[in-house]
Amino acid sequence: MSTSDAIATHALGKHFGDLVAVDALDLSVRRGEIYGFLGRNGAGKTTTIRMLLGLIRPGAGEVDVLGRRVGPGTRDVFARVGYLVESASAYPDLTVRENLEIQRRLTGAPRTAVADAIARMRLESCAERRAGRLSLGNKQRVSLARALLHRPELLILDEPANALDPAGIVEVRELLRALADEQGVTVFMSSHILAEVAHLADRIGIVHEGRLLEELDREQLRAKERLYVAVRASQPDRAASLLAAAGFAHIERADGELRVFDAERRTAEIARALVGAGLDLTELSAVHEDLEAHFLRLTGGLQ
């Protein structure tokens, strides 16, 4: 583990009976970055987050958070960590302010912290309302306010955009970006919503069936957005040779098709080259592949 790592896991594993929730997961989240932990439902995101927070014990491997090994009895390091796990929750009979006051006392934050958190999450209008009577979106805001209240160095957020309306999602995104950029807060956030993560994260880890399949930084993310022409023809090998001979330099083969890059304005030329050589052309279409397509292919959601 590097000293600059806010989170480091080594061969982290957890199974529930026969179900392998997390398998040999090596994560390294650098201080000050926003790390998007991306995966489909049931990929192991929440289980990983629970292990980072010591809510469940790893079946294998280790977890280090802000340089401290997490295990039973770990507590001091959590003064520097704010978190939100899965669904938003609060004491329904207590007001928003009272719920946050509990967090303030437990984290030893100053008295002004509650008012600051309420203002930051724009909860002024419902600060004196009982948490049980809040909308789901406002409950989520209370949970985020709870996570931010003691000004942590590290935020671990499980699906932070859950239940928020589009304006709320943008607001939270801007808030997290500002925390990272201006205060150096590290954000580790899980999500199954690609757009949310793609807009915000400095790095993305894609997890599937408990395993980390790929890590991408911003440059690599951008590189995943690409245009190509999908070609399906009889005799694919010959088709590839014909296209190469016609001057198409970048051709890939995947899923039984040829992908011809830098060719979106040359579809007629492709058709002439193949049909003119006597091949049957069954598909010819321009494709815009974004992170979503990449993610779906990687996690088996796109055949």
Binding site: L53, L55, I56, R75, A79, Y83, A90, D93, E98, I102
Partner: protein
Amino acid sequence: MKFPQVLATEFLKLRRTRVTWLSLVALSLGPLAIALFMWIVREPGRARQLGLLGAKADLSGISATWPSYFSMLTLIVGMGGLLLLAFIVAFVFAREYVEGTAKNLLALPVGRHWFVLAKLVVAGAWWATLVVAVTAETFLIGSVMALPGFSADGAAGAVRDVLVVAAVVYMLAPVIAWIATLSRGYLAPLGFALAMLVLSQVFGKTGWGPWFPWSIVASFVGSVGERVVASIAPGSVVVVALTFLAGIAATIAQLRYADNTQ
């Protein structure tokens, strides 16, 4: 030291909770019901006129006197308390799981054992308030009814009996707390308390009462065999103390080591 802060938050969590008032109403119904029985015993003719006394009524165990009322108070605090305190402890501990807030307590700069101890203190304070209230209610109703047989010694003995039985009932509460954290719901601890009430009779009748914690309460309040006034065998004291400590240790271990997948 985080404990005072944790304790303050645990008391704050009771704000606006109806359960506190419900528990007070539930326990205070006991002395009221006994008072009604005593009035019927004293005035059977009027009770029959009002339709309060059926043909097969049997109130032979109750006399309209202070000693009888005190004895019933001990019974209410003992046997009623076993159920009511289980209800209180189940609420204090299991609400964190039912309301989804347990996960918010487990990754904080606070040892998890402080939550267990603070919740037990809150339940203890709550229970003590109920016991004081119901004792005061008994004295008030008895005075209004002008029951015969009052003596300072008798009253002091009654208060001592109530305190002893309330303490024993409280010392069985951590086991309920453990069941509540283990099951993460209200039903299992309440079911467990009911089962223990039944078993207290079974062990009491078969002679194992002094070694079974819940029978110790039952035998003290006289529901099993001869009532042993204000005395608990030293062996039974050890059993109750060990149950208390084991309950606390098990609850702390549960919170510290069990996976929280809520």
